[in-house]
């Protein structure tokens, strides 16, 4: 669209529209609550923009199909929830190993296993990071509103294209089903990143030789005769499955291309942090309950602030190290039994971190968080 538009979207629909705005033209998925509206919306919208929607036979296939589509030259996405996300881990690993740009939306519900299919959870944080086997790094973003579902899905595609890695949009059921105002910027105001193509002729092209950390990508049919394998491979793309040096070079680069660029991907919404001596750390829907609690606590004179993570992976270690000295206590508010908490502890020390968990099926009420803030100050 040429002009700015105001829409009233759920998080799921906003994410789907964000994908289309980012240039996504291929979606493969399998129905699962609470993410199905994304597939339904893509089924209706993609053909209108010349894209392809396919409902696959399962999530193993959905993930494989988007990798294939990405190598076919398309920006590709799938959407799922916990049980489906588990099935996708196999080919998320292949995506990381073969450096295939793609986006996976995981609308978190309460687990483990089938858990509470219709209700909120935030317990896939570590799975997003460590779900597939082997050493790899991934990017995960977490929106707190339909507007952020739109914005961060675009960002997810841009990061996927820039770093050639699967990017997870870690939504949760509450944000996915919440309806709010979404501002869609005019087309020319939306930043779009496309994967870098090789600028050398095929005979000089080494498909896995990085420029910086990321190699330019030649897709199928472009005349580069690329071999792509999930086996440990050299810069030519050829399997070298018995050479530990090749393995080290590859895995180091796959991890470092994300680790060393953490600052560029860092996306933190700080609220009332300037003079804070206690900080809440949260993300997704819990970030909103936390914000309400901070407002209440500030009104009553507590110098508490909020660190809301929009980029969850790579984790902003450096940021936490820096502020650790100024903050007496970190209260981690999340709908799981302590996942982001572990990351915060790793950076600021165990003694400074307090977990305020929910186990799934409900969000934190702001007054529960407020009570915890009070308790922390009074316990001082």
């Amino acid at each position: 669209m040429k002009k700015e538009q105001i829409k009233f979207y759920s998080g799921n629909i906003a994410a789907a529209e964000g994908a289309i705005a980012a240039g996504c033209r291929f979606f493969a998925g399998y129905p699962i609550t609470p993410s199905s509206e994304i597939a339904e919306h893509m089924a209706r919208r993609l053909p209108q923009v010349g894209g392809v929607f396919i409902q696959m036979e399962d999530e193993l296939a959905s993930m494989a199909a988007i990798l294939g589509a990405s190598w076919g030259g398309a920006k590709a996405m799938t959407a799922t929830s916990g049980p489906g996300f588990s099935l996708m881990q196999e080919n998320i690993g292949l995506g990381a190993m073969t450096e295939t740009p793609c986006v996976v939306i995981n609308v978190q519900r309460a687990g483990p296993s089938t858990g509470m299919p219709t209700l909120v959870g935030q317990a896939d944080v570590m799975q997003a990071r460590w779900g597939s086997h082997g050493d790899y790094e991934i990017i995960a973003l977490s929106p707190s509103s339909p507007q952020e579902c739109f914005d961060l899905t675009i960002k997810a595609f841009n990061l996927a294209e820039e770093y050639r890695v699967p990017v997870v949009v870690l939504m949760d059921e509450s944000v996915a089903h919440m309806f709010e105002k979404v501002v869609i910027p005019p087309e020319n105001k939306i930043k779009i990143v496309n994967r870098k193509k090789p600028d050398v002729p095929p005979e000089k092209y080494l498909p896995f030789k990085p420029e910086g950390y990321v190699p330019p990508m030649a897709c199928a049919g472009e005349g580069y005769n690329v071999h792509v394998t999930g086996l440990t491979h050299d810069e030519k793309g050829y399997p070298q499955a018995t050479d530990p040096e090749v393995q080290e070079r590859l895995v180091r680069r796959l991890c470092d291309k994300i680790r060393k660029n953490e600052r560029k991907m860092r996306d933190i919404d700080e609220y009332e942090m300037d003079d804070a001596d206690v900080a809440l750390v949260s993300f997704g829907i819990s970030g909103r309950s936390s914000k309400a609690a901070v407002k209440e606590a500030r009104r009553r004179g507590y110098k508490v602030g909020l660190i809301r993570l929009r980029t969850i992976w790579p984790f902003p270690d450096e940021y936490f190290e820096k502020i650790a000295g100024d903050i007496k206590k970190f209260i981690v508010v999340e709908i799981n039994y302590g996942q982001i908490k572990l990351e915060v502890e790793r950076n600021v020390g165990k003694e400074k971190v307090i977990l305020l968990p929910k186990f799934g099926g409900e969000i934190h009420k702001p007054h529960e968080i407020y009570e915890k803030i009070k308790e922390v100050y009074n316990g001082d």
Binding site: G50, A64, G68
Partner: protein
Amino acid sequence: MEIEAKSHPFDKYLRADRIPHIWCPGCGLGTALNCFLQALEETEIDLKNLAVVSGIGCAGRVAGYINVDSYHTTHGRAIPFATGLKLANPKLKVVVFSGDGDLFAIGGNHFIHAARRNIDMTVICVNNYNYGMTGGQLGPTTPLEARTTTAPYGNIEHPFNLCHVAAASGAVYVARWTTLHVRRLKESMKEALNKKGFSFVEVIAPCPTAFGRRNREPSGLDTLRYYKEHSVIKHGIDPSEADIEIGGDIIVGKFVDIEKHTFNEAVEELIKKARK
């Protein structure tokens, strides 16, 4: 007699710098690959737009030896990967080259659904009755009573008849040959490559190292001799009548060759309709 040559006539189709391949002496995969390269030579397919996708296993290594855009994916997932590839770039000719365990055990669900949808791709399955790469375990095609490392007393599972599965799932082209039938196999591969829709070619192949030597066929030649004595060509028969039994005849031929609207055509029409 000495044979001297600087290169193989099919080197232009191969990543010659990756040869020698990993396959054992007597294995049927080299023959299947050779037939495929001959089929490429004799068809009009533009190699720039050819993509070969494999899963995991001995047959899964085929993709890596052919000098086109080639994808060696995860175990069982070659077909859904190929589905995405073809749908994202319909100009591509997409061939899945993999084994019986990859395509019909761990990947069985994807096979039947790609056939049902009639995705425009060619699937070549090299069926050696077992998991060769991992040392000769029971597979979905191991004939009853055959011995494998995980069926040391003889197989008690009923095997799949792959051509029957393919036909019943909706494939528009279904053929089976052994690696002894090199010319007929090549012709079927050509037909499959030229076919619009989901085409399937089963290649019965020896695996002396992992399967044959446990089943009274210690060399590849023994297995080829068995093919010679027991293969019966029956074009056009109902593939349900072509089950494979140990010690029995191997029915080969072209079983299915029909026309059906493809998924890719339907997608194009859908896009036209939605854009109006």
